[in-house]
Assembly symmetry: C2
Homo-oligomer: 338 residues x 2
DNA sequence: TTTCTTGATTGAAAGGTTTCAATCACCGAT
DNA sequence: ATCGGTGATTGAAACCTTTCAATCAAGAAA
């Protein structure tokens, strides 16, 4: 009748096995210190009673949690789930669980998750900061939590980070569009405060400014999903024909897919009337209505390196701060006439 | 110099504020029981000292964790992340964090996560069981953990569950293809042991068997991603022309996208040469190379209902077992000639 | 037989929070 | 001046595991 009989503790095991709690603990944590006979006996009792370690007590005693926390910007974006998966796999190898929180770009939710992780005393933290959480991160670090920033640079050698060169990515995209002969470019994405958006835009602008007669219009969105892309595209479609861009650079692939959808719906041909390039090169980019050109980020590598840096920091909290910047690459497909 | 000075505890706060630990605890948990003066004072001290609750100790004392665990089949599949997001949002409203584990269809990893959640004494568990974990779930339930099964039925009124009628979904898909005049159908997906695959296939078979001259070929895959879809399609392409299907029903949209890609690459026209229908209706289905027909599962609802059932069970562990079966709907797009 | 050595086992303390019965201080009523 | 009552505060106990100094047992060496 499912009576939630109180949980079995080491004490119960000890009593049932006729040994001390210390011995039970040794069986659990240092079996080599225990004589084979008692080891077998206690193990049997553990199984029989269905004893399960209470992780809360273990942590309390240990002072910290083996788990690692990660705050991810948007679980609906395959880019981030791929990175998270890379992290999770690396951590699983060393037996550390990953606790995933989804901030959805919302500073409030980001803060809520940081609170949670702080209360949980996680041993490490992976963050792609959205709000101005640096002071928060400093406090966590000073308290002994390893912190690694993912997909964003941090000045001043304060934190280890892995990032992809977004400025260069922005350049690659714009360069490609300009090479193809486009001159009226538009950049769709936002909000502008997001570092990645800002850098990709700046990179693009630098390239555009270097070419005579080339222009770049910035259409700011408040999120980075397909819906935002659709709305951004509609805004561009509403322009008088002579101002309408002949090439669109979307801040990520989800936005690009939305743009693509809106343009197709409006009867425009891609890439003949308007070329489109995205960013991230998620798996879906290749199988879009018109296969999408994109700036590829090495996302598995991003996750793996992030995990590696974090583990190094957990090992040696006073070790050197490491900064890794990975290179993006251009992937040309149909949507820009590939 | 980042000296990881030992964490500030209630005791430290009490000492600094000149009150007892009991009062500090009251400030934290029952502020209405504390006089306004002390409340203000203690709160100030908490801020000044940067005190953060130690969740391990709190849980130890409370006996259970507020968090809820969820084991998800495949984080790379937007269907599951959408469901998870629905769950997370419902839980956030009542201040419960969600700990997400990704089994990747692997029974071993599923077990690892269940172990973790059990050690963590989570107050509830959402599972889409992949292996034969029913005994495990029973044990957890008997121990007082609320358990709700997601996206799968369970016989015998043992567990509350939310599922979508997969048999009917399979029927809808096959019916639609048959209505369009197709007679040589193929079903791509697997492994066959997965309940959802089995039911969708069975539903399709029932419809096919009811039509004279209609056939259904089962191409079994070992996973459910785009790669599996591509390989499945290649297998079909290798058949002699007269045996080649004129319509393909994929067990989910990722597989369908892979199939679509392989067929397009091989120069076949969709839907003229071969029609394709997927399952789930993830957001990407609509923006595929050729917009994909699909059987839509109400995934946000699935997540919300799952959270609701779980919370009800946490409230009243001895309440009645609730079984909810949601209806899938057919969404017709270009890939079947919509 | 006694003393050493070694390996196995013990048991109490510590870790931080919450709970709750007990105490305290104070005010109004008698 | 005393009593009762009320609201605020206290402090010890409990939650479960791990650690480590101390003890014990048994066999080897003297």
């Amino acid at each position: 009748m499912a009576s939630a009989s109180r949980s079995v503790s080491v004490k119960d095991v000890a009593a049932a096995a006729g040994v001390s709690v210390g011995t039970v603990s040794n069986v659990l944590n240092r079996p080599e210190k225990v004589s084979p006979t008692t080891l077998a006996h206690v193990t049997a009792v553990i199984d029989r009673l269905g004893f399960i370690r209470n992780d809360a007590a273990r942590q309390l005693r240990a002072g910290s949690n083996r788990a690692v926390g990660m705050v991810v910007l948007d679980v609906a974006n395959p880019f981030f789930t791929d990175v998270a998966r890379g992290v999770e796999e690396s951590l699983a190898e060393v037996g550390r669980p990953l606790i995933l929180g989804n901030s959805g770009q919302d500073p409030d939710r980001e803060r809520t998750y940081l609170d949670l992780f702080e209360e949980q005393r996680v041993s490490g933290l992976l963050v792609s900061p959205v709000g101005s959480v640096l002071p928060r991160l400093r406090r966590l670090r000073d308290r002994g939590t390893a912190v690694v920033v993912v997909d964003r640079r941090v000045e001043g050698q304060e934190f280890s980070f892995v990032a992809v060169d977004d400025l260069r990515g922005g350049r690659l995209a714009a360069q490609h569009l300009l090479d193809r002969g486009h001159r009226r470019l538009a950049f769709v994405g936002g909000p502008a405060e997001i570092t990645q958006v800002e850098l990709r835009l700046r990179g693009a602008r630098e390239e555009v400014d270097a070419v005579d007669g080339a222009t770049l219009r910035f259409v700011e969105t408040d999120t980075m999903d397909a819906g935002a892309g659709r709305r951004g595209a509609e805004e561009l479609l509403a322009l008088p024909a002579e101002e309408r861009p002949d090439a669109i650079f979307a801040a990520n692939d989800l936005v690009a897919l939305g743009v693509l959808q809106a343009l197709t719906l409006a009867g425009l041909r891609v890439p003949e009337d308007v070329a489109i390039i995205g960013y991230d090169d998620i798996d879906f980019a290749a199988s879009a209505a018109i296969p999408l050109s994109s700036v590829r980020q090495p996302r598995e590598q991003l996750g793996a390196v992030a995990a590696e840096l974090l583990l190094a920091r957990i090992e040696d909290p006073h070790g050197p701060v490491t900064e890794v910047v990975l290179e993006p690459t251009l992937v040309v497909r149909r949507s820009t006439g590939g």
